[in-house]
């Protein structure tokens, strides 16, 4: 877990107060794993998203929630009831020590608590306050309810994702899985926060950030907007491959073990490629007629695209397990990949070489848990998981007594009055 011999992370020395549920907790993780001191502030009883599964051994309990564990690494945790005057007073004292406040309340709620940017920055002009909400602080949809599925619809992800009619007739648009609306919002919120931090190193001034998950999703569909803006095209959905203005060669093929391979072949076919493709397919004796000199003529290649893709390439892939196809192809310079289920990644030697998997101690359960690691290796200031997700109110005494100098008696009084 934490290696004291490593230099600090790039955000070391920063304090973040996180008032975030499922929509924004990933942004706090991004900040915390890169070295910030993130204090997660939960209402007494815990963040509602502690109730979402999956749970350890499928035993539902707010301290056994794996999704909460994953998105809340490298944070400390306190409970604070902001609906009480005492809770708000403590929050304001903490905010005076903070560099960043991240909040995901409905628009206007923080302001109704007397804790908007003007109030919090009065004695802390370097404060950066980021509100990350489904639709932003303004506009006709600002108070609309949302969910990951709703963002995938409105953001354009669903309009681009689904099936060829020939594969699944009458299929609906399919919302990509994994909770990525929250990821998209959090990536952009993180970017805005760090830009504001860089600005603060020069100006000394903080600022307010109004970030919108809907806009983040609407921005994350590659060329779909450009196809419409410049050509008036609305794109069609295709199985496991790019949206397109019309039909396109398939790129997803079933391998011998029933798993799939993503092989981008169509559109790349030229005389040089044909020779390399013949060599690859010949590793399993499946090159067919690809070595025929006629395939050194681009017009013949184009006329035979369906034969090459749907018969020869598909036949080669169908003759081997997906992982075998993946490595044979990549070792010969083909940009192909196996379509893996997430659990297959644990056996990936490349991830092991990068030290990707992290063992994180959960002492209250007496076990270590393997977590996914970093997107990027920061060679001068390493990423790390500094601690597992906080238990509910785990750091109440450490922070409220240790840093805000409350007495143990005051802490008890606050607990009795449901302030913490």
């Amino acid at each position: 877990m934490m290696d004291a011999s490593l230099p600090p992370g790039p955000l070391a020395g920063l304090r973040v107060l996180e008032l975030a549920g499922e929509t924004g907790q990933f942004c706090g993780k991004l900040l915390g794993d890169l070295g910030s001191d993130v204090i997660k502030i939960e209402p007494p009883g815990g963040e509602p998203c502690r109730r979402l599964g999956p749970f350890v051994d499928d035993i539902p309990h707010p301290e056994r929630n794996l999704s909460f564990w994953y998105y809340n690494t490298s944070k400390r945790g306190i409970t604070l009831n902001l609906e009480t005057a005492d809770g708000r007073a403590l929050f304001r004292r903490l905010a005076a020590t903070a560099d960043i406040v991240l909040e995901t309340f409905p628009p206007g709620h923080l302001s109704s608590l007397g804790c908007d940017y003007a109030a919090l920055s009065k004695d802390n002009p370097g404060l950066i306050l980021c509100s990350l909400t489904p639709f932003g602080q303004t506009g006709p949809w600002r108070d609309y309810l949302s969910s990951d599925l709703l963002h995938m619809a409105a953001g354009g992800e669903m309009a681009s994702s689904g099936y060829d009619e020939a594969d699944v007739p009458n299929a609906p648009p399919i919302a990509p899985g994994g909770g990525n609306a929250w990821h998209m919002g959090c990536h952009f919120a993180y970017m805005a926060i760090v830009a504001a931090l860089v600005h603060r190193t020069v100006s000394g001034r903080g600022q307010y950030i109004d970030a919108s998950i809907h806009e983040a999703c609407a921005l994350t569909t590659e060329s779909a907007i450009a196809n419409y803006v410049y050509r008036g095209e609305v794109l069609e959905r295709h199985t496991g491959r790019h949206h397109a203005a019309g039909p396109s060669p398939r790129t997803q093929f079933r391998a011998a073990d029933g798993n799939y391979v993503c092989a981008l072949v169509g559109g790349r076919l030229n005389p040089k490629y044909m020779k390399e493709l013949a060599d690859l397919l010949d590793t399993n004796g499946m090159a067919g007629d690809l070595r025929d000199p006629k395939y050194q003529d681009q017009a013949v290649i184009t006329a035979n695209t369906s034969h090459i893709v749907d018969e020869l390439v598909a036949g080669f892939i169908a003759s081997l397990p997906a992982e075998e196809v993946y490595h044979r192809a990549q070792e010969r310079g083909f940009t192909w990949g196996a379509v893996r289920a997430p659990e297959q990644l644990l056996a990936d030697p490349h991830l092991a070489d990068r030290g990707f998997w992290k063992e994180v101690a959960h002492p209250e359960l007496g076990r270590n848990v393997t977590y996914p690691g970093e997107a990027a290796i920061y060679n001068g200031s390493p990423w790390r998981i500094s601690r597992r997700a906080p238990l509910m109110g785990e750091h109440n005494a450490e922070i409220l007594c240790g840093e805000l100098d409350l007495s143990p008696g005051e802490l008890t009084m606050l607990a009795e009055n449901r302030v913490i």
């Binding site: 499922e22 669903m158 399919i174 950030i209 970030a211 921005l219 990549q330 893996r340 289920a341």
Partner: protein
Amino acid sequence: MKALAGIRVVDFSWVRAGPWATRWLGAFGAEVIKIEWPENERGRLPSTTTPQHLEVNLNTSGNFNDTNVNKKSLSLNVRTAKGLDIVKRLVAVSDIVIENFSSRVLRNWGLGYDELRRIKPDIVYVSMSGYGHTGRHHHYTTFGPVAQAVSGLTYLSGLPGQPPAGWGWSYMDDTGGMYGAMGAMTGLYHRNMTGQGQHIDLSQMVASVPLVGPALLDFTVNGRGSRRPGYPPGNRAHWPGAPLAANHRGGPTVAPHNAYRTDPGGYNDWCVIACQSDDEWRQLVRVMGSPAWAGDDKFATVAGRLEHQEALDDGIEAWTRTLGKYAATEQCQAAGVRAMPVQSAEDRVEHDPQLRQREMYLEMEHPALGRHKVQNAPFKLSETPAVNSMPSPMIGEHTREIVEGLLGLPHEELQAGFADGTFWPTQRARFPYQEEMLR
């Protein structure tokens, strides 16, 4: 005021992921200098987004324009001694280097991190390769869809019993770009605080893996993999008849939770509806006009609605088919029911009232493309707004400005560099603006 005012970025990146990263550095006010060479350019060509009435050439890709706003372009053959010298002079006066070549390319050109930090000790150097510079498969290559496939992202999207539907675009080019920009600015903040630069080794494939975190923990802790009956459950939170298990979408296991056809039944005439509580369900029933079928006891509980999803979804769709997707959305949301239209690109640009109010798409003039809408930032910063200030550069548009203005070389060197193939291939026709800069 701009957040990254005074910051200069040397941008070797091409295609999508790298340019999408530097687009945001430019929006925050950094001076982004794109190093390009027309003979092996990938990003401007091949173009499938050139307006129908224009010739396809290096300056008429609409997608390139949207991906490369707020940047300058220096046309330069880096694989010549003179070109290499100019790059090194540029790095000496820059803060960030970003590249998305395969893992050993820039090092082989003499432009690896160890070389460049001798020229600029505190340089923040971000590599955005497919598999990273570390690890046995560093020489493997990716496009977005391959990174998505290998990391498990593709697998999590689709209908049970069907091939994966995956993502209909290079999600990991967009998201890889996010991590590139995040890395560059995080490295920059760290440099400003400590005086230290560093090499950041980002891998597009590896960056996908943290995005399937909860599914991975379900496996490392519970031994439950994603290859299981009824998973992934399409647009539903749970597929009827399959064992109940969390779906990793970041919401509760509920029904209704699906996409429904709307009037007039066209390709993108769908809305989604999700009820996260009995109360939200009862509200939906009222919005639908309290049809008799919805009063059946089997729909009164979440367990019953999950079990009888086929009938539930049929009943809801009979109602949504009578309405347009925006009308269905507004009626639901007005009653506190979660609903949204499935929006195509046309819908987002033309019909989405929220994006319009937030000024997501504002017009900008481009010398070759004309006036078109460009995507804006999804956040509003009170002191340092990230607004687009320049259209994408035409190739080599700023070569004179950079070579003479920034690096201080005499005009004769610019002319000599055009004559000897340093700034443009000698056999290649020049654009009028290049003739202009040679006068």
